[in-house]
């Protein structure tokens, strides 16, 4: 199996729940060494990060945004919509990572050109598998858009 990625893959995790974010980060740490995960606590922070606003002036654009939907202040849907208005940000793939399997949420996400919609499983084993699959695809097989 040939690996395409040549540099450290950078994921931006937008998740308001600290425990879940930690769980994700820990699971991610187990599967990939050439992987960095930056976590933002809500939609506003995520947008600031992506737009390289204060205090993230030096931040690089991530290879993938893993976006929760239900967040305080600015929801995941709003962040995706905002990203679409900015040409530089609209290139970044966004995978919705949520516990909602509501069709309405799914439709809305894909309508906003989300790259994927993943429902978080309750069972931890399945959750690990899911993290593995995300890492496999987005960090190894996916070719990111050139800057």
């Amino acid at each position: 199996m040939s690996k395409i990625a040549h540099r450290t893959t950078h994921f931006l995790l937008v998740e308001d729940d600290d425990d879940q974010a930690n769980l994700f980060q820990m699971s991610m740490a187990r599967v990939g060494s050439e992987l960095s995960v930056t976590r933002m606590r809500n939609g506003e922070e995520a947008l600031s990060f992506l737009k390289q606003e204060h205090p993230y002036e030096n931040a690089e654009h991530p290879d993938l945004v893993l976006m929760d939907l239900n967040m305080p202040r600015l929801s995941g849907h709003d962040v995706i919509a905002e990203m679409n208005t900015c040409p530089a940000l609209s290139m970044i793939p966004v995978v919705v990572l949520t516990s909602s399997d509501d069709d309405a949420d799914r439709r809305r996400a894909y309508a906003a050109h989300a790259s994927g919609y993943v429902v978080k499983p309750i069972e931890f084993g399945e959750f690990r598998n899911m993290v593995n699959d995300i890492e496999d695809f987005w960090a190894q097989w996916n070719c990111p858009c050139p800057d």
């Binding site: 729940d17 425990d19 879940q20 769980l23 820990m26 699971s27 516990s99 909602s100 399997d101 509501d102 978080k120 499983p121 309750i122 069972e123 931890f124 084993g125 959750f127």
Partner: protein
């Protein structure tokens, strides 16, 4: 004030009246039993009847039906026997059973209640039975019976009020109704109406037992009663007129005969005072009398020695009939019948000259007398004179008329004593002249008024019905709107509740994932640190609980989806979904060593694919969970059959089955038959039931031919043409 208070007071009042009257009979109080000397008395048995009636109506009102029936039977028997006495004219002794009447009041049967009273009590007894009947028209009949009683008592009361006393008894041939009897019947009638209205009708108002026909019936009864009474009253008047006319003629005749007799005596005295008076002078004298008294037809003077001394035979032919006049005694008068007349023979015995046995015989004609004195009556009456049932004279030879109206007057005709009767028999012309238009006028007028009242009441009731219907329709409209509003509210609430359940379940997923994840990590750490295995024993229940909770949340979310996916129906092939369901459970089937057999035709159904799949997964999952018996291979059969417009999908197993008492309960939410450790949420079969309902089908469980449970659900057939049947059997290991 509530109607029940009036009812109670009325029952008490009627009972009190009856007890008072019964006591009145015992202590012989005329005031209590009759109220007024001109009124009819209330008989003891009538009072007893009212006591029974009050008790019966009280029991009906207080729902003591069996006791009410006993009173109705007693009333019916007592007054049935009284009626029997009237019909058969046999006295069986119940009239004086309790008390010997001290007041007779011209009653034909002392102590016996009137026929009208008897009839009213029989009707009230009938009311007792009919009111307890469950017949749909029972209220109508009861109302009619009550109206009859009320109508009869009203007619009697009306008679008392307007002063026509005869009306209290309807007519001369029925005994009267006491004024307090009539009032008590009215009160009983009101009680009966109120019982019907309050207990047996929908509106529960005392007047609701009325029917449009009832006032009309009451009017007809009153009209007939009053008309009959007026007819009887008129008959009494006519009889009185006949008697008066008869007496007038009779008295005139008596007077004429008496005057005649006095004249003869005066004449005889004159002769005695003038013994030398020549016979010619006597004759002249006598002729004067004959002229003065046209009824006098002949005179004869006789002496004892030589017989006829002198005659003045104007009607000598009649004299032959006087064969042997009585020559002894003083003055006699006798009646002698002839062919077409009756002769009144007056004989005065006197002494004249040496002859002390002389007598003057004066013969008067009855016919002439009647013609003279009663010429004005002959047109209207047939007149006859009879004695000892022998007709001596009659104006007419044929008597075909009803002689029930005949009047008689006694004439003073000596030898016959008081036996000579002057009878007046009215001719038809008299009846025609004496006919009163009032009874018929009352009858026709009353019936006409009843008709008008019927039309008015009918129209009014139709209007009332129409208004009630309109009101009901309006109310129905309002209720429908209210129902619609509350339905919408309920739907909104339900939707809100579903949304809440969904959100709750959904929001619980994240913390559960954390618990699950961190527990696993803790477990891994403990393993790495080689910590005492007892800690693992403690962690295991936590993991089980988390798993159970996960399944429950998943099930609740599925249930929510079922409610949300009601409209995504399309034609699908059931066999494909069955295959899909079996494939998804293949791993579990293999691990359990179970065999799944799919039987039946590939039947297309019009359903929501996702929901039908969910049903199958639930049913197969249930079979895997609950039908396993140690040492026995688990068999699961899935079959599809067509039942009319529906398709029946069944999943059966060879497990322990479900007891009949739980076969409905298992479809309820959160109902589980297994113990707490069993791997179920109690939601799966409720989902199955809900899916069936969404598809206008039904879900049920029965005993399987395999020995276990057979769960079935019906789904509507697809609109598209059916796939050609082929009895294929697919076996999946």
């Amino acid at each position: 004030m509530r109607v029940v208070h009036f009812q109670r007071a009325t029952e008490l009042f009627v009972a009190l009246i009856s007890i008072l009257v019964m006591l009145g009979w015992f202590v012989q109080s005329q005031l209590v039993v009759q109220l007024h000397p001109s009124f009819h008395p209330m008989q003891f048995n009538t009072a007893l009847g009212f006591l029974m009636c009050a008790c019966m109506l009280h029991c009906l009102r207080t729902k003591k039906n069996q006791i009410a029936v006993i009173f109705a039977v007693m009333l019916g028997l007592f007054y049935g026997l009284t009626l029997l006495q009237y019909l058969s004219d046999i006295d069986i002794g119940i009239d004086k059973l309790f008390v010997d009447p001290f007041l007779l009041h011209a009653d034909a049967y002392p102590g016996r209640p009137g026929a009208n009273t008897t009839l009213c009590f029989l009707l009230l007894s009938l009311f007792g039975f009919v009111s307890l009947s469950r017949h749909p028209r029972a209220v109508w009949w009861c109302g009619l019976i009550t109206t009859c009683v009320v109508g009869m008592s009203l007619a009697s009361l009306w008679g008392y009020l307007v002063g026509t006393e005869f009306l209290a008894g309807w007519s001369s041939y029925l005994s009267g109704m006491a004024v307090h009897t009539a009032i008590a019947y009215l009160l009983c009638g009101w009680l009966a109406y109120s019982y019907l209205g309050c207990e047996r009708t929908v509106s529960r108002e005392w007047y609701s037992a009325f029917h449009p026909v009832q006032p009309v019936l009451a009017m007809v009864i009153m009209t007939l009663t009053i008309s009959t009474a007026m007819r009887a009253w008129h008959k009494q008047n006519v009889q009185q007129i006949i008697a008066e006319k008869n007496a007038l003629l009779g008295e005139s005749m008596n007077h004429a005969l008496s005057t005649n007799g006095q004249a003869y005596e005066r004449m005889v005295k004159r002769w005695q005072n003038n013994p030398q008076m020549p016979s010619v002078a006597w004759r002249v004298d006598a002729r004067g009398y004959i002229v003065d008294l046209p009824a006098l037809v002949s005179m004869h003077l006789r002496s004892g020695a030589d017989g006829v001394k002198w005659d003045e035979p104007e009607h000598s032919e009649n004299m032959s009939l006087i064969t042997r006049p009585t020559l002894h005694g003083s003055t006699t008068i006798s009646l002698v019948s002839t062919n077409d007349d009756a002769l009144i023979v007056q004989q005065i015995n006197f002494g004249l000259d040496s002859d002390s046995h002389s007598s003057l015989i004066a013969v008067s004609s009855m016919r002439r007398l009647i013609e003279e004195l009663g010429s004005s009556y002959l047109q209207d009456f047939k007149i006859r004179v009879l004695s000892d049932n022998t007709i001596y004279y009659a104006t007419d030879s044929v008597y075909t008329l009803d002689e029930s109206m005949t009047s008689s007057f006694f004439l003073n005709i000596g030898d016959h004593g008081d036996d000579v009767q002057l009878s007046f028999i009215p001719r038809s012309s008299f009846f025609i002249n004496a006919r009163s238009p009032w009874p018929n006028a009352v009858l026709i007028g009353g019936l006409f008024l009843s008709g008008i009242v019927w039309v008015m009441v009918h129209q009014a009731s139709q209007l009332a019905i129409a208004r009630t219907k309109a009101q009901q329709a309006a109310m129905l409209k309002i209720h429908a709107k209210e129902l619609e509003a509350s339905n919408a509210e309920l739907t909104a609430l339900n939707s809100e509740l579903e949304q809440f359940t969904y959100s709750m379940s959904h929001d619980l997923k994240s913390p559960l994932l954390c618990i699950n994840g961190y527990m696993k990590m803790l477990e891994d750490h403990l393993q790495d640190m080689k910590v005492d295995h007892k800690l693992g024993v403690l962690i295991e229940p936590i993991n089980r609980a988390v798993n159970q909770m996960s399944k429950m949340i998943e099930s609740i979310l599925t249930l929510y989806k079922v409610s949300r996916h009601q409209d995504k129906h399309r034609d699908i092939d059931l066999s494909e979904i069955v295959d899909q369901a079996v494939s998804s459970a293949e791993y579990q089937i293999d691990s359990a060593g179970a065999s799944v057999q799919v039987k039946g035709n590939p039947l297309p159904v019009h359903a929501n694919q996702e929901l039908v799949l969910s049903v199958l997964q639930n049913l197969i999952g249930n079979a895997m969970k609950y039908a396993r018996v140690d040492g026995q291979e688990l068999k699961i059969h899935i079959s599809t059959t067509r039942v009319g417009d529906m398709v029946q999908l069944s999943v059966e197993d060879n497990g322990p089955g479900i007891e009949p008492r739980f076969r409905e309960k298992v479809f309820e939410l959160f109902q589980r038959l297994g113990d707490a450790q069993a791997d179920g949420t109690g939601i799966g079969l409720n989902i199955v039931n809900k899916v069936a309902q969404i598809h206008s089908g039904r879900a049920w469980v029965e005993e399987s031919e395999l020995g276990g449970a057979k769960f079935s659900i019906t789904l509507p057939r697809a609109h598209a043409p059916e796939v050609k049947p082929s009895n294929q059997v697919i076996a999946v290991a």
